[in-house]
């Protein structure tokens, strides 16, 4: 019930108009052939190359939206002292926060679905309708990454101020989305920098890996069990964090 109310409040916000507009823009760009990937200086419009690129762009946008939708839910509720009203009714703070986190996740996944529908449109306009069936499991798989971002942001918003939580969430999201680039930097850098990159790669979730695996479901019809288990473990850890972390007002 708390989750439903919080979710309804979210969808009333104008941010979803931005989601629709962005999804439509990205779909238009890729479906009309305006988007191309350059390989060795030559433009490529092949579906098998552009589809993963579009998936990357959609996922990055979904992750950013997940941060935006999840960031101020809990701080706002505590600011309005709604938590005290809930506590009086016998609902524990941790259960209350879990309900708010569920609202955040639901809103993030709805936003992700809007972006993914753009991908579905691209698959159809690229005359590959047979791959549309694979878009559903791909959405579910990539949705795990969105859940991770949402839960991570929610977790951080419990402990830190809204600004700090936002900055840290964005940094974690960017590292996750550009995971291969950080791996490359780790390979090139030595000494302390190399160790720092190595530590970041070990601790932070590989959102790019999740998105790639989701893409492989569509293009190669392969399912990566290992990445799924690792992603679900991160969901588990962040969910635990929401239960265990305390806000100073508690």
């Amino acid at each position: 019930m708390i989750a439903l109310i919080a979710f309804k409040e979210k969808i009333r916000r104008k941010v979803f108009f931005a989601v629709f507009a962005l999804a439509a823009l990205i779909t238009l760009i890729f479906s009309t052939g305006a988007a191309t990937v350059t390989i060795n200086g030559e433009s490529v419009t092949d579906y098998k190359i552009l589809m993963p690129t579009m998936l990357t762009v959609m996922n990055a946008a979904s992750c950013a939206m997940a941060v935006a939708l999840s960031l101020n839910t809990i701080p706002k509720e505590y600011e309005r002292h709604t938590n005290q009203l809930i506590f009086i009714r016998g609902v524990s703070q941790s259960r209350y926060r879990i309900q708010l986190a569920i609202a955040n996740i639901t809103a993030s996944l709805v936003s992700h679905a809007i972006f993914f529908s753009g991908l579905a449109v691209y698959i159809i306009t690229s005359k590959n309708p047979s791959e549309l069936l694979w878009a559903v499991p791909s959405y579910m798989y990539s949705g795990i990454g969105i859940v991770i971002v949402s839960l991570c942001t929610t977790c951080l918003s419990i402990v830190f101020s809204e600004m700090a939580a936002g900055v840290i969430s964005v940094v974690i999201m960017l590292i996750g989305v550009f995971y291969p680039m950080i791996e490359l930097l780790k390979g090139i850098a030595g000494g302390l920098s190399g160790k720092i990159f190595k530590a970041l790669l070990f601790v932070l979730p590989n959102l790019h890996g999740i998105q790639s695996a989701a893409g492989c479901l569509i293009t190669e019809h392969t399912f990566d069990l290992h990445i799924m288990f690792v992603a679900l473990f991160y969901v588990y850890l962040f969910a635990l964090g929401i239960i265990l972390f305390r806000r100073k007002e508690d």
Partner: protein
Amino acid sequence: MKISNIIITAAIGIGLLSGAIFTKPFGLSDEDRACYETAVSLQYAADNIGFTDFYLTDYPVSVCDGKNDYVLISNGNSYDVVKRAPVIETLAGTIYEVDGQYEVIVPARSLMKSLVGVIGETWNENEQAAMIWHEAFHCWQMSNYEDNIVSILGENSFEDDSFGGALINSQYTENPKAAELFRKQLVLLSDCIGEKDVDIIKESIVKYKKLDEERLSLLSEDTVCLEKYYTRVEGTASYVEACICKSQDANRYESEYQSRLAEYSEGSEKYYTLGRSQCMLLDKLDSNWKTEYDFSDDLIDLIYEKLGV
């Protein structure tokens, strides 16, 4: 929190962690095995090229995933995989002498995908196989003609490849006329490769020779030395790589090799193109040139000899 809830929560965590651990790929990945097997299956294409006794399976192929080397050693119709600590850290293909034998060393395909993915490109199995063949050719060069190859550099020492690249770049930046002449030479070679009339080819090579002499006079001795090295060693390896690619994917061959013969690049890359073009022209003049080539002469000198220029 109830004890039962704690137990359930812990069980879920242990279950997910166990799932992550037990599904983690260990050892050499299937995709790297597939790339090696694809490369080995292309021996027929290497045989068609014509370099004497050039076999991929003569050389161990070491796949480096950043943490370990997985050395694939052929044994008849199959191969063994030996795991060891990395002998060198590399983000590109190379060769390395291990216990007196030259080995091909390539990054794992997943690393290559990450590397080229950063600049928005893709890296497929065929490209990995072609890279293996390119490096295997270097193993063959060094195993059979090491003295001739080492003598190209003379008394100069260019152990640091980046130094060579920097030298070439600075020379061509200081001498834009040299770059312009190089472009004209590439165009002439490209035209010759597409030309059927030997007399026209000869005329073009006469022009090429004049341009070459003019260009080389603008460059330092070190740069000329490096050019000879890269053209002979990397140019021929690039040619082998292109031939392998042609047997796998005619479209990729056309877009990445054939259509780029006249393309000028910065650094040492232009010598890969130059050497490849010279090899392709030699194929037109004498298809058996490879059976006797021992890297003691420039490829262009062979062309001059065959045309009487």
